[in-house]
């Protein structure tokens, strides 16, 4: 049977998909063991035991200063920033993307501006962001929003404007106004694509969150990573990164499930 036709069952897929991940972990352990054989105090590739004990302190021992369990405090802070950032980005991408995609005059007016914002690296203009948003939570959320919205917006606008022209004509003959067309034709077909974009944006969103937390923060997963990077505490960094990956994969899974449940029509068409 040709490879393009091989269908993979759920169980098989889990097994197959787990394999490379397991290999990576194995490769890491081997490399770490090799380094430790050379230098038992090596910090670059800590052994799993060292990571476990380093993490145990963050997980279970309250911080003497704040009395908090640092790991959980970090997670909570980062997730809430990420959540707010993603929420604002998604909402504004949806609104603006619909308008830009469906209304040519709006597109003509805004698309050069949007392109410009999309290609300006926000981290290069941090001082200006600080002036506008200060240094608190707003600035961190703003960096996420500024970082991922342009991509989502442009992709969504492209998706909307690529909807078959017949659909638009059809809606107009059914008496739709521009507003109604946005609401009943463009919006519902934008939503599954929006979820797809959100999934693709999770990686960049974490990058911007971590950058923001590296710049000025006193709690958060990115804060901890950059703080302990000062003394190369890879035994904390690696578990933290793994945890971030786990959180992101979980979000990815939830989003893809949601899309299948809520927008079945979009997935049936592709069987």
């Amino acid at each position: 049977m040709r490879w393009v036709n091989r269908r993979i069952g759920r169980g098989q897929a889990l097994l197959l998909g787990g394999l490379p991940l397991a290999l990576v972990v194995l490769g890491y352990v081997v490399a770490a063991a090799a380094r430790h054989a050379e230098n038992p105090a090596d910090k670059i590739l800590p052994l799993p035991g060292a990571m476990a004990s380093a993490m145990a302190a963050l997980l279970f021992e309250p911080d003497p200063l704040s009395g908090e369990l640092l790991f959980w405090a970090d997670t909570l802070a980062s997730l809430s920033r990420l959540g707010i950032g993603l929420g604002i980005a998604t909402l504004s991408a949806l609104l603006a993307g619909l308008m830009l995609g469906a209304l040519p005059p709006v597109r003509a007016f805004f698309s050069p501006l949007v392109t410009a914002i999309a290609v300006i690296p926000p981290i290069a203009l941090l001082p200006i962001l600080f002036i506008i948003f200060g240094l608190g939570e707003t600035a961190k959320v703003a960096l996420i929003v500024v970082g991922i919205t342009p991509f989502m917006l442009r992709d969504l606008a492209g998706h909307i404007s690529a909807l078959p022209r017949e659909q638009m004509v059809k809606a107009l003959t059914l008496g739709a106004s521009s507003w109604q067309l946005l609401l009943r034709v463009a919006l519902p077909q934008a939503l599954p694509r929006l979820i797809e974009e959100l999934r693709l944006s999770l990686g960049p969103a974490w990058v911007f969150l971590i950058s923001a937390e590296a710049i000025a923060a006193d709690v958060g997963l990115g804060y901890r990573i950059f703080l302990v990077r000062r003394y190369l505490a890879m035994d904390v960094i690696i578990p933290y990164v793994g945890w971030i990956a786990l959180l992101a994969v979980a979000m990815d899974f939830v989003l893809s499930r949601t899309s299948r449940l809520a927008f079945g029509w979009a997935h049936k068409a592709r069987r």
Binding site: P20, L23, V24, L26, G27, Y28, V30, A31, A34, R35, E38, N39, P40, A41, D42, K43, I44, L45, A50, S53, A54, A57, L65, L126, P127, F130, I131, G134, L135, G136, A214, I215, A216, A217, D218, Y223, F226, L227, R229, R230, Y231, L232, A233, D235
Partner: protein
């Protein structure tokens, strides 16, 4: 990903093995700071080549824009030596088990680091404020010393970790009212209206040291590296200290390398106590005050958890000083203050 893991293993192994053997090519990392600018200048002015040739070596100076990353890369074995502050030499490579030798004591900060307050004229006014600084760095140490000398504790303020690249612009935000920083950022930050430096490194002279460290094993196998570096350093120092046009040109070139103006660079130099004379550096390294300083730094670092999870006491990392003095675990000495090469320079034997 497998390739990645393999690459990691290979990178790890190759670096771990090489230092023991004699080599002729070396990489020294540096980052921008007033006290370290002589190194890239020396490379540009041909001083490096001159001394390297003399000992039959090739020495490359690698700029790492991000200071922490330069020290990390040294620790990881990608660099044979690096410019670093005393506290970071202790907490990053030495605490990481990398046997490190301090061969050049370049300067101490004499006002290059400071605690800044908006709307407050003494340290007491800092109580209860949020302080932006690079946490776990010499700034943190300076803050701890400032609070200690004024009868407060670190718990009396709330620290906010702020990247050194961004602290200058962060300080212009009205939301930030207290910060600790070093030069060159410090100069820019003092320009913000209503700012006072309430405590500077000039109040604790000789405690924040700027060093050149190299890997001990590499140095053992290649003592010529140490000689060449000392030669380079003191020739450049002599040139730089001259108050004539030549000295001025050298300093202007350093300013350019640091991305600033000669005027600003001179002002930074004025708050840096340079050991231009090797004899003075040797003496400073041999003095008991260094031990006191390092003990203080060590206790602070341990209290902040900088020695990592494995360390159960402040003695976990061993340090050796000239004259056989030691601090901490004698069986695990990983930071050695080694005046041999500065002494050779002082004796004119290079």
């Amino acid at each position: 990903a497998l390739a990645l893991a393999a690459a990691m293993a290979v990178a790890g192994c190759s670096d771990a093995k090489s230092p023991a053997e004699p080599r002729t090519e070396f990489n020294i990392g540096w980052s921008i700071y007033a006290g370290w600018m002589p190194w890239p200048y020396a490379e540009q002015a041909g001083i490096v080549k001159k001394w390297a040739d003399k000992y039959g070596l090739t020495i490359k100076f690698v700029q790492v824009n991000d200071y922490v990353e330069s020290v990390n890369q040294y620790t990881a074995g990608k660099l044979d030596g690096v410019t670093v502050a005393n506290m970071d030499a202790l907490t990053i490579p030495a605490a990481g088990g990398k046997d490190t030798s301090v061969i050049i004591l370049g300067d101490y900060s004499n006002g290059n680091d400071a605690v800044l307050l908006k709307g407050g004229s003494d340290v007491a006014a800092i109580k209860g404020r949020k302080v932006n600084l690079v946490e776990l760095s010499v700034s943190h140490y300076l803050l701890a010393r400032a609070l200690e000398t004024n009868g407060m504790k670190l718990a009396d303020v709330k620290t906010v970790n702020t990247a050194d690249a961004d602290i200058a612009s962060a300080f212009t935000s009205p939301a930030v009212t207290a910060a600790v920083a070093w030069n060159p950022q410090l100069t820019a930050m003092k320009g913000v209206p209503g700012t006072t430096a309430v405590f500077t490194s000039a109040d604790i002279p000789g405690e924040i040291l700027d060093l050149l460290v190299v890997d001990t094993a590499t140095l053992k196998a290649n003592p010529n590296l140490g000689k060449a570096l000392a030669g380079i350093w003191y020739e450049t120092m002599a040139l730089m200290a001259r108050q004539d046009a030549q000295g001025q040109d050298a300093r202007a070139a350093m300013a350019k390398l640091a991305g600033t103006t000669p005027k600003e660079f001179e002002s930074q130099l004025s708050t840096t106590f340079l050991y231009t004379d090797p004899k003075a550096a040797v003496a400073a390294m041999a003095s008991p005050e260094l031990v006191t300083t390092m003990k203080r730094v060590r206790d602070f670092s341990f209290a902040q958890g900088l020695f990592g999870q494995g360390a159960r006491s402040a003695d976990a990392v061993g340090m050796a000083f000239p004259g056989g003095k030691t601090l901490g675990d004698k069986n695990a000495i990983t930071l050695r203050f080694d005046p041999t090469f500065m002494q050779l320079a002082a004796d004119g034997k290079l």
